[in-house]
């Protein structure tokens, strides 16, 4: 069972320029237009071969959309296309100051979780979103304007740390919610 040969990268597939800055409305519009063509619902009355190809394509289009619609994933993917591995798996060389901040965040989240303080967690989340947005703006300048990929890779690593914090806040809120 051979898979289709996907030659295009995600940007090409979704008909978007290979930039970090992105027209979200256009991304969504193209995503829908593509799924309109490849989604399994359009092939269920056709041959098994066509159904299989459809599932592979729809899976690929979903993966592309998921990657490009998330800023950290998009940046990581884009840098990998330009030959930069952000090495988020085995990177210990984060600035000490940043790591300190991370610890403070963790403590604040844990404290709010213990105190079952949903409003506090919401505030932390808003602050985190704000910080992440700032980092994304910087990332856009570094990738699209100055093409400073090494610095950008550091930003992406930070962004991924912050995403983990966002997940922790979400699971703390879930935990508080569990009766």
């Amino acid at each position: 069972m051979s898979a289709p040969d996907f030659q295009q990268d995600f940007f090409q597939l979704l008909g978007l320029p290979q930039n970090f800055r992105l027209d979200n409305a256009l991304l969504e519009q193209h995503y829908h237009a593509l799924q309109e063509q490849v989604h399994p619902d359009k092939f269920s009355h056709l041959s098994e071969a066509e159904r299989r190809v459809s599932m592979q394509w729809a899976t690929r289009v979903n993966e592309a959309y998921q990657t490009l619609s998330n800023p950290a994933m998009r940046a990581r993917y884009l840098l990998s296309l330009r030959g930069i591995d952000i090495q988020d798996e085995n990177n210990t060389a984060m600035p000490a100051e940043f790591l300190m901040e991370q610890m403070e965040w963790r403590e604040a989240i844990e404290e709010a979780r213990q105190a079952r303080d949903a409003a506090g967690l919401d505030k932390l989340e808003a602050r985190l979103q704000h910080d992440m947005y700032g980092l994304e703006t910087q990332l856009a300048a570094r990738i699209d304007d100055s093409r400073d990929y090494v610095e950008a890779a550091g930003d992406v690593r930070k962004l991924r740390f912050m995403e983990k914090l966002a997940q922790e806040i979400a699971s703390a809120l879930d935990a508080i919610d569990t009766d």
Binding site: P4, Q8, G15, H39, H45, E50, V53, N62, E63
Partner: protein
């Protein structure tokens, strides 16, 4: 009057004719079937004009069954052989089901899924559900005058893989070709959205007899995109009945009732609950086996108090779904209410309070799911209506694999749009290791023991190498039904390890065949004939599909030799259709499918590049 065209049983209608397809809402309490007729989705009634078929199956000693009303009315006379709310047992082990002690059944603790001992033998929930589906299938075939091309079966959005697989197996057992498993709230959104030309962010709140779902959808220009789904597959109207039942026991100083008294009081409790939707109080009367008479008045306010925390339990999934969708309550434009239990005023009030707006109740909460499923079935069967729309649904629960220390590592997060896939590489731990075992689980919790175990499988035939040298890529693919498939490949040697992951609770094709044979309805000859008919239908549809594809794109995308090869396979299949050798027909179908794979890919490439308005993507600025 126009003459009705009726095709020979078991044969699909001629090309381009309307294909008979239905949507089936297989509910905990009630089931129903709908179809699209003259462009309008309608529910098909039984010969007495009733739309809802009570999801109740009674087994008799001679092996026959009564389904629906006929079974429901005698349930307290023969509770052990009259199965109600079987949906709660689908894909569930004995330990997963709460409150089994209060139930009148003789449970058999089978691996994966619980079974029930009846006068007609041991039955799995899949078989019980199949009895309900058979009745609906017969109803539809009688009403539509032909055999069905296929059916869309709805499932609660929060159903896990085991529950979905069980539902699909039940449909197969009932002789239905499953076009798709569709999430119930999504089905409701289709019916509601198309009817009202709705645009924007909507929540669907579905509280039925046994399950609760909440889905958040974005509706825009014919696209139905599910952003998040959450729920509780063991919370519904039944639980409200149970509260009243417990209250009745307490009020009347009763304990340890027999099975038939329990059924009787539960039935009365349900009637009381429904009464309280319209009235401020209701009177519950019953005569127990002992002759003791029950006569108790229940006030609405007392009922609301005793069921308050059940209503509250629906709020938590709502908050989670909103959070997962990254939305606030203010973002939600409308709340669609689905399921009979949403008629309860306290539920409507709680939902209104939560969303800060009155929920939409201008549709029939009992029927909207089936109506939406029928619309989807019509499209999937290939009966194109003028209006085209697209459905993007999600997987409700994360999929993970067991890692060291009994932890679940998430490989596909909840609310991922389906179909979706994830490949993960594994390596060996010891020198010369030739096998490894993988445990797939579903759920949000960290500990594997808190998640639902989906499948444990062993990968064998890894070429012996030093520890850590092998690269085994395992691909987890979730299809458009939300069902998981796993395949594995050793990357170095290219050995495709032949594993099919049939979850431990799923039925193998042989088991389904055996069950079909077991049911007295099918003699051995019937089975042969049935298989032959199925393959013939499949072959004709395939030939038609390939013929159409060749007409559209054959000359453009294929060279002379490729066309000849495909036409050769088609001729071969056509010739075999004149015989009754179903094995040979099946093999020819497979060959034709194989012969057209490259063509299918080329066609898809073509439509993909046309999708974005024919622009050449490489021309775009980089």
């Amino acid at each position: 009057m126009a003459l009705l065209q009726i095709s020979e049983p078991g044969l699909s209608p001629a090309p381009h004719e309307h294909r008979l397809a239905v949507g089936i809402d297989l509910g905990t309490t009630n089931s129903l079937v709908a179809t699209v007729r003259n462009g309008i989705s309608v529910v098909l009634n039984d010969e007495n004009g009733r739309a809802l078929l009570p999801s109740v199956v009674r087994y008799l000693a001679d092996g026959s069954t009564r389904v629906g009303e006929a079974a429901q009315t005698v349930q307290s006379e023969d509770p052990a052989n009259t199965i109600i709310s079987v949906k709660r047992f689908m894909g569930r082990g004995l330990s997963d089901i709460g409150g089994v002690n209060g139930l009148p059944y003789r449970f058999v603790d089978a691996p994966g899924m619980v079974q029930l001992r009846t006068v007609a033998g041991v039955k799995s929930p899949v078989e019980v559900s199949a009895e309900i589906l058979k009745v609906l299938r017969a109803r539809a075939e009688a009403a539509l005058g032909g055999s069905l091309t296929g059916a869309v079966i709805t499932v609660p959005a929060y159903f896990d893989d085991a529950q979905r697989q069980a539902t699909k197996d039940a449909a197969k057992l009932a002789g239905l070709n499953v076009l798709r498993l569709l999430n119930e709230p999504t089905a409701a959104a289709i019916a509601y959205g198309l009817d009202n030309a709705a645009e924007g962010l909507y929540a669907v709140y579905d509280l039925g007899g046994g399950t609760f779902d909440i889905s958040i959808l974005k509706l825009s220009r014919g696209v139905f995109e599910v952003l998040a789904a959450n729920g509780n597959s063991a919370l519904g109207g039944d639980d409200f009945d149970h509260r009243i039942y417990c209250w009745l026991l307490e009020k009347n100083g009763l304990s340890a009732l027999g099975a038939s008294d329990t059924r009787l009081l539960l039935t009365r409790a349900r009637a009381a609950k429904e009464e309280l939707t319209e009235h401020a109080e209701t009177r519950v009367t019953a005569i127990l086996q002992s002759g003791e008479a029950i006569d108790t008045v229940l006030a609405r306010q007392d009922f609301h108090d005793m069921s308050q925390n059940l209503v509250a339990r629906t709020l938590q999934p709502m908050r989670r779904a909103l959070r997962d969708a990254g939305l606030k309550v203010e973002d939600i434009k409308g709340v669609v209410m689905v399921g009979g239990a949403t008629r309860m005023p306290q539920v409507q009030r709680a939902v209104a309070e939560f969303f800060g707006q009155a929920p939409l109740t201008n549709l029939d909460p009992d029927k909207v799911v089936a109506l939406g499923a029928a619309i989807q079935a019509n499209v999937l069967a290939g009966n194109r209506g003028g209006d085209d729309w697209l459905l993007l649904d999600v997987i409700p629960l994360s999929l993970g694999i067991e890692t060291m220390g009994g932890l679940s590592e998430k490989i596909i997060p909840r609310n991922s749009t389906i179909p979706t896939a994830r490949a993960q590489d594994f390596t060996t731990f010891r020198d010369g290791q030739t096998a490894m075992s993988i445990h797939v689980v579903q759920g949000e919790r960290e500990l594997v023991s808190d998640c639902r175990s989906l499948a444990k499988f062993e990968l064998r035939g890894i070429p012996p190498m030093v520890a850590g040298a092998a690269r085994i890529r395992i691909t987890f693919q979730v299809d458009a039904d939300g069902l998981l498939n796993v395949s594995a490949r050793e990357l170095g040697s290219g050995v495709e390890a032949a594993i099919t992951v049939k979850p431990s609770y799923g039925l193998s094709d042989t088991e389904i065949t055996r069950m079909l044979q077991d049911s007295s309805q099918y003699a051995q000859d019937d089975m042969q004939l049935r298989t032959l008919r199925e393959h013939q239908v499949e072959a004709r549809q395939l030939l038609e599909a390939v013929q159409n594809a060749l007409e559209q794109d054959g000359t453009e995308l294929l060279d002379e030799t490729e066309q000849t090869r495909i036409r050769g396979s088609m001729d071969e299949l056509r010739a075999l259709l004149q015989t009754d050798d179903h094995h040979a027909i099946k093999r020819a179908i497979t060959r034709l499918n194989d012969a057209t794979t490259a063509f299918a890919q080329a066609r898809m490439d073509k439509s993909v590049s046309r999708a974005l308005g024919g622009r050449k993507l490489t021309d775009l600025e980089i």
